[in-house]
């Protein structure tokens, strides 16, 4: 028997996909705008550097346009993965066999409640 209530994996995944694609749009806009404004069309200008440690340094447009957003994405991405993304049961595999999909009715041996990790 199947109900019409949407599976929690579908709704949480959809929500997460929207957040992630919005983050892609923000990262793309910020990186391209910053790099273009600071790093393109500078003619014969000398590069300016942001100096860090152990001899590590970056041209300023690379630092602000790429390194900083990269670190930000790592921090935000990890936060998103550990605190925002929801764990959900992916369902149980059909009985171990080499049959083609469709040989058994879809969902016939599935459960989404309390199933152990595969």
């Amino acid at each position: 028997m199947s109900s019409t209530e949407e599976d929690p994996v579908v709704s949480s995944s959809r929500r997460e996909a929207v957040v992630v694609l919005s983050m892609v749009a923000i990262a793309l806009s910020y990186t391209i705008t910053t790099c273009y404004r600071m790093g393109y069309g500078t003619g014969t200008q000398e590069p300016k550097f942001v100096r860090l440690f152990f001899g590590i340094a970056f041209p300023d447009w690379v630092f602000w346009g790429i390194v900083v957003p990269w670190l930000t994405c790592f921090v935000l991405g990890s936060t998103f993965a550990f605190f925002v993304m929801k764990d959900a049961d992916l369902g149980v595999e059909l009985e171990d066999d080499d049959d083609l999909p469709g040989d058994a009715p879809v969902g016939a041996s599935l459960t989404t409640e309390g199933a152990p990790d595969a």
Partner: protein, 594 residues
């Protein structure tokens, strides 16, 4: 010319031995369950580390084409690769959970399997299969060549460091001229070649330069390729490398299937991290810091090396604004669109492992790409005017480890990383291609009742046949390796990204819509590549003889994605809605009927 030495060969043998051992361990795991799911999907047991470091890492090109680009064009390559900052999230959090769930609900083992069952359409499965085989086979053939070249480099005394596609001693002999006459090259042209007989040329480019001086343009256009082919040497080290590479990679993949591919990939990813860290620690002090290295490189080249759109010897614009936007998207969408990546997400153990892999891959990408850029900038300062720029990592490694105790082994560790990377790429693709042939063609269309033993036997035959085919294609090796890599990556993205989103989230999506999305995306990309081949060089983007047409200055991946989206939406809305009961099975909570 510097040589790789015995340390490199030793490390390579060690890597091969480790890979075969991993294959045998994987075999033991596969034996525990049903053959197909175990062999092609690792019994859906991938943990966070295996998922993170093998699903979206573009390992084959990381140590090869990418460093060459940084050396040649400067800091702008950081912007070219910057899309990787968000790849860990997009690779796993956009469709990852849904693909893993759908593959369980449909009992799918392969990507075509999944699309076929999700849309209840053999036609959709077949189209997906054709694209998977097209893009992955072309990529795999190119990677066989890369593997053979690296094996050749590792051979002590080979005198070869580049991954150049044309290195070797080119020589025209009297017999070559005879052969050219027989092949129909006009006598007037052959007679002009007389002064070159017996002369050795380091590479194809050098001989080509001489030919363009001796022959009039029309003559070169007609007979140039035949003359170059006649002068090409028999490169025994290359063939030896090809044989060893093919035996190794087909061997351990055959033994352990999907898990062997994944574990070797994980192993080489860790090795690559070691290699990059060692090189970074050695390169920065040697170049007196990254700032001094950049300024030294700017002195050699010009300010463009430190700015956009990048430095090029011939004045080409490496990364104008349109391409900068495009390439950001290439990595983002290739990350979750490639069939090889989707299969690995399908094989993930649980959502917890998917979440953890976002963190792991984020950290890994940070530690690989930005350091690699700094290393190559230092490389430009330490080894200026490198003729073959793809030599930068091997040459820099040998230079920096030369005086260190155990330097040869250290160099070996760094130099074998690309070999491991290529092995892992090929291994993963072998599994996907073999599963396509056995599961999606034989079991679907020829013998649906095939038993486990027959499937197993056919899988081995398919894998060996694919290996033999790839070796045969590389006896006369394909040119423009990097183009195949980019074409295949972009192809996976434009063909499968929109269908994957439709399959995961759109109830109204239909089989016709999915087929239209795949055909429109893949077709657009192929059309743009064909057009680019026919049109003159626009002097933008990475230099290559086989380049796409950059309509409005934008890479075809964006046009392909737009076409695929339009195809998917209109194709779905113009056809009848899918069966409600089936859609419910794919989207709604399911209870077990007891």
């Amino acid at each position: 010319m510097p040589n790789a030495g015995y340390g490199t060969l030793f490390m390579l043998v060690l890597l091969i031995a480790a890979s075969v051992w991993l294959g045998t361990v994987a075999q033991r795991v596969v034996r525990k369950g049903a053959f197909v799911k175990g062999y092609f999907l690792g019994n859906r047991g991938l943990g966070a580390w295996a998922l993170a470091l093998t699903a979206t890492v573009q390992s084959g090109g990381t140590f090869m084409g990418f460093p060459s680009m940084v050396y040649s064009h400067g800091w702008i390559v950081a912007l070219w690769i910057s899309g990787y900052m968000i790849v860990p999230l997009t690779g796993f959090a956009v469709v990852g959970k849904r693909m893993a769930q759908l593959s369980r609900r449909t009992n799918a083992v392969t990507v075509p399997d999944l699309f076929r069952e999700r849309f209840q359409s053999p036609r959709v499965g077949l189209i997906a299969l054709v694209f998977v085989l097209t893009f992955m086979t072309s990529m795999m053939i190119a990677q066989f060549k890369a593997g053979a070249l690296i094996m050749k480099i590792a051979w002590p005394g080979s005198g070869t460091l580049a991954l150049s596609e044309d290195s070797g001693q080119f020589r025209l002999g009297a017999d070559s001229l005879m052969g050219l006459r027989k092949a129909g090259v006009p006598e007037t042209t052959v007679s002009k070649l007389q002064p070159l007989v017996g002369e050795a040329f380091a590479d194809k480019g050098e001989l080509k330069a001489q030919l363009t001086k001796l022959l009039v343009p029309g003559e070169f256009d007609v007979s140039g390729n035949k003359i170059l082919a006649a002068a090409e040497p028999t490169d025994w080290l290359y063939f030896f490398g090809l044989g060893i590479f093919a035996l190794t990679v087909v061997g351990y993949t055959l033994i352990g299937g999907f898990l062997a591919a994944v574990w070797t990939d994980l192993f080489q990813s860790v090795m690559m991290l070691f290699g990059v860290t060692i090189l970074l620690v050695l390169a920065i002090p040697a170049a007196n810091g990254v700032e001094a290295a950049t300024l030294a490189a700017v002195q050699q080249t010009g300010e463009a090396f430190a700015f956009g759109p990048g430095y090029s010897k011939d004045g080409r614009e490496f990364l104008p604004l349109g391409l900068a936007i495009s390439f950001f998207c290439v990595w983002v969408f290739a990350g979750f669109g490639s069939p090889a990546s989707v299969v690995r997400v399908m094989a993930s153990k649980s959502t917890e492992h998917i979440r953890k892999s976002i963190f792991l891959l984020g950290g890994y990408n940070l530690l690989i790409y930005i350091p690699l850029i700094m290393i190559c900038i230092c490389g430009r300062a330490l080894i200026p005017d490198l003729e073959k720029t793809d030599e930068i990592i091997p040459r820099l490694t040998l230079k920096l480890t030369d005086k260190l105790p155990g330097g040869s082994l250290l160099a070996g560790l760094v130099l074998t990383a690309p070999f491991g990377a290529v092995m892992a790429t090929v291994s993963g693709y072998l599994v996907v291609i073999a599963s396509g042939l056995v599961r999606d063609i034989y079991q679907r269309f020829i013998n649906p009742q095939a038993g486990p033993h027959e499937i197993k036997r056919l899988t081995y035959i398919a894998m060996i046949s694919v290996g033999i085919f790839a070796v045969a294609m590389n006896i006369k090796p394909v040119e423009y390796l990097q183009v195949f890599v980019v074409f295949s990556g972009s192809g996976g993205a434009v063909t499968f990204v929109v269908p994957a989103l439709m399959a995961a989230y759109w109830r109204r999506a239909t089989a016709t819509g999915c087929a239209a999305a795949m055909l429109a995306g893949g077709g657009t990309l192929i059309a743009f590549y064909v057009s680019g081949f026919l049109l003159p060089d626009p002097m933008m983007g990475p230099k290559s003889s086989v380049r796409p047409f950059y309509w409005m200055g934008v890479d075809p991946i964006l046009w392909g994605l737009a076409a695929s989206t339009a195809g998917g939406i209109f194709g779905s809305l113009l056809t009848s809605p899918p069966d409600a009961a089936h859609v419910s099975k794919m989207f709604d909570r399911q209870e077990t009927a007891q």
